[in-house]
């Protein structure tokens, strides 16, 4: 089995693992983490496809590889924004629950701390 096929299958499994975590983990930080696992799987799948495009003395197709670098950087910026949103929510309410019937822990004066 070639490395491209092996890591392509590994990427498919990563996407599945991440998707499961995204659905069942109730904590938003764990959802962000799971989303990053899905992202890594998608990148690796694209990387395996790039590897199959090796030609002209290059180890892989440079166009998808360059897009991957762009993708990894953009994924980091999205993660940073998500984490900042989460921390702000925590600062405001002292809770990060996504449940629709979550107890409202906001007390007068708490958000002035």
């Amino acid at each position: 089995m070639s490395a491209a096929t092996l890591f392509g299958l590994c990427a498919a499994a990563l996407i599945g693992i991440g998707l499961y975590g995204l659905i069942v983990n109730p904590h938003p930080l764990r959802k962000i983490l799971a989303f990053n696992v899905v992202g890594s799987g998608v990148f690796m799948l694209f990387g395996a496809i790039a590897r199959r495009g090796a030609a002209a003395g290059m180890g892989g197709d440079p166009v998808p590889q360059a897009l991957l670098i762009t993708g990894i950087v953009v994924a980091f910026s999205a993660t940073a924004l998500a984490v900042a949103l989460l921390l702000r929510l925590f600062d405001e309410t002292r809770s990060v629950s996504l449940a629709s019937d979550a107890p409202d822990k906001t007390q007068p004066g708490v958000d002035d701390v």
């Binding site: 092996l6 990563l14 998707l19 983490l33 180890g59 950087v73 984490v83 900042a84």
Partner: protein, 313 residues
């Protein structure tokens, strides 16, 4: 031999991914994720994507891991409440079923990929001489697909503005993050004095060789940002208030120079972001030099987060 290595590597990657999903503590899960990022780097080397491997090590594992570790530490008190909210067995089984189905569909897709594989490598090889750079990835990033890189730089800037805009009104214009306290004679302060000169040289080197070898501005800028963060964490320097004019100028300088060169291309080479023949390499260098400080600042400041201290000292 190589096959056994790859299979072992893929197994470890999957195991760590699983750990980062099922681990009880968020902190332990993030640690698993960071190790996962480093092993992904090896997978990228096996897939002959050295530039991607460098980016994954620096940003995917490194910066993202540091960001999540910080968040996990602050949110530790919320974990017990979240554990109670976990879905019941039917939802878990349904989620597992959906995940297995998605994986199976993708696996079938991987095994059914067309032969011979479509590739743009010959096109890149045929036209790379025009750009004057030797690394095909850099040629794609800054010449053939320069629009993507421009939009990426703008996305990064917008993400930073988004992070800043989450500051409470009374802290707007203030310094991001909390003032770090560390023992001035401790090992952290020592490392923060000794490592940055070496790290900055390595960052500039990775940036400079990116023209002809694996490397480039994103990887170099991440290393520089890491050195800056180390100095800030050791309490040797403080993050600048976000209202500083020099900071804002540097943050927009990279994208603005990029756009300006793109607009000049409309006049001199008949297309936005096209370079006139013969001076492609100098123009690419100008863009890289303008983007480097912008990227370093954005990546570092995004990790520090929203302003949490007032603009007045």
């Amino acid at each position: 031999m190589s096959d056994a290595l790859n299979i072992g590597l893929a197994g470890l990657i999957l195991g760590l991914a699983l750990w980062s999903i099922v681990a009880r503590e968020a902190f332990a899960a993030v640690e698993g994720f960071m190790a996962f990022g480093l092993l992904l780097t090896l997978a990228w080397v096996q897939l002959h994507g050295i530039d991607v491997a460098l980016t994954e090590a620096a940003i995917g594992g490194g910066l993202t891991g540091a960001l999540l570790i910080g968040a996990a530490t602050r949110l530790r008190s919320t974990e017990a409440a979240a554990r109670v909210e976990g879905p019941g067995a039917p939802t878990r089984w349904l989620a597992a079923g959906v995940s297995v189905a998605v994986t199976a569909a993708l696996a079938v897709g991987v095994l059914a990929l067309p032969v011979p594989a479509p590739t743009l490598a010959p096109d890149v090889a045929a036209h790379i001489a025009v750009t004057g750079v030797g690394n095909p990835i850099t040629a794609v990033l800054l010449a053939f697909r320069a629009m993507d890189t421009l939009l990426e730089a703008i996305v990064l800037l917008f993400a930073l503005i988004g992070v800043w805009s989450l500051a409470p009104d009374r802290f707007w214009g203030g310094r991001p993050g909390l003032r770090q306290q560390a023992d001035p004679n401790g090992i952290l302060a020592y490392v923060a004095r000794v490592l940055p000169p070496i790290g900055v040289i390595a960052g500039i080197y990775i940036f400079w060789v990116g023209a002809d070898h694996p490397g480039g501005k994103f990887q170099g800028a991440t290393l520089m940002a890491a050195m800056w963060l180390l100095v800030m964490m050791a309490g040797l320097a403080d993050a600048p208030p976000i209202s500083r004019t020099w900071l804002r100028i540097l943050l927009v300088a990279g994208p603005l120079v990029f756009i300006a060169i793109g607009v000049v291309g409309v006049v001199t080479a008949d297309a936005f972001l096209a370079y006139p023949p013969g001076i492609a390499k100098p123009l690419i260098l100008v863009i890289e030099f303008a983007l480097m400080p912008t990227l370093t600042l954005i990546l570092g400041l995004m990790l520090v987060g929203a302003p949490q201290r007032g603009p007045l000292p």
